[in-house]
């Protein structure tokens, strides 16, 4: 087995593992807000690894360039889709179209502080008890 073949197999295994792990993440995480995070690695890391495998195999031929273009397109699309979907969910919750809080009651999870309207404010000069998640960046 040549070095190129080994590199291709390693990249393929890595790419496929990332994609399947992200599918598992979308399945097991509760709520659309939590599921959405797993679109990121699925659209960035997986396709990049697969495109790298194609480039290793084919060099910068038509196949390699198109694989890279496809990966680039997915990388650009991922944050756009994440934001658009999250915003759609936020508007549905704000306008009472999506009963996400009702769903939380059914699953027995606490309702306070879980929706975006109960969001703590985090600022550059805020510290102390309001930022107990360690999110306040002190200047």
């Amino acid at each position: 087995m040549s070095l190129v073949s080994i590199a291709v197999v390693v990249l393929l295994v890595f790419g496929v593992a990332v994609e399947l792990a992200c599918c598992l993440g979308v399945l097991v995480m509760d709520g659309a807000y939590n599921k959405l995070h797993f679109l990121g690695p699925a659209a960035i890391v997986g396709p990049l690894a697969i495109a790298a495998a194609v480039v290793v195999q084919e060099s910068f031929s038509q196949a390699g360039i198109k694989a890279l273009l496809t990966a680039g397109l997915l990388i650009v699309a991922s944050p756009v889709l994440s934001h658009a979907t999250a915003r759609a969910l936020y508007i549905r919750q704000r306008d009472h179209v999506e009963p996400e809080l009702v769903g939380h009651l059914r699953r027995g999870l606490p309702t306070s502080g879980t929706g975006p309207d109960a969001a703590p404010v985090v600022g550059a000069d805020m510290g102390g008890p309001g930022s107990d998640l360690g999110l306040g960046g002190r200047p």
């Binding site: 399947l20 979308v26 659309a32 599921k35 997915l74 915003r87 508007i91 996400e100």
Partner: protein, 83 residues
């Protein structure tokens, strides 16, 4: 059968969790499942193009990536108020 086709077959199993989410989740959760399936299928098409040694098949993956973006945006916009 080569490594590319094996990888494509393995990735097809990833559609099962996506389908479960689409069938059992709320409308927005289903949209997340659909977007994940779109990304997955784009990668599968790249693998099949390389596995079958057909460079023109890469164009299918490119078009699907574009359509996943456009379709996801349309669904998200519709779901704000109309679904």
């Amino acid at each position: 059968m080569n490594a590319w086709l094996i990888a494509a077959t393995a990735l097809l199993f990833g559609l099962i969790p996506c389908a479960i989410v689409m069938l059992r989740g709320s409308p927005v959760e289903a949209l997340v499942g659909l977007q994940m399936a779109g990304v997955l299928e784009t990668v599968v098409l790249v693998l099949l193009a390389e596995g079958f040694h057909r460079p023109p098949f890469f164009d299918l993956a490119l078009v699907l990536a574009l359509l996943t973006l456009a379709g996801g945006l349309v669904f998200a916009r519709m779901m704000e108020r109309w679904v």
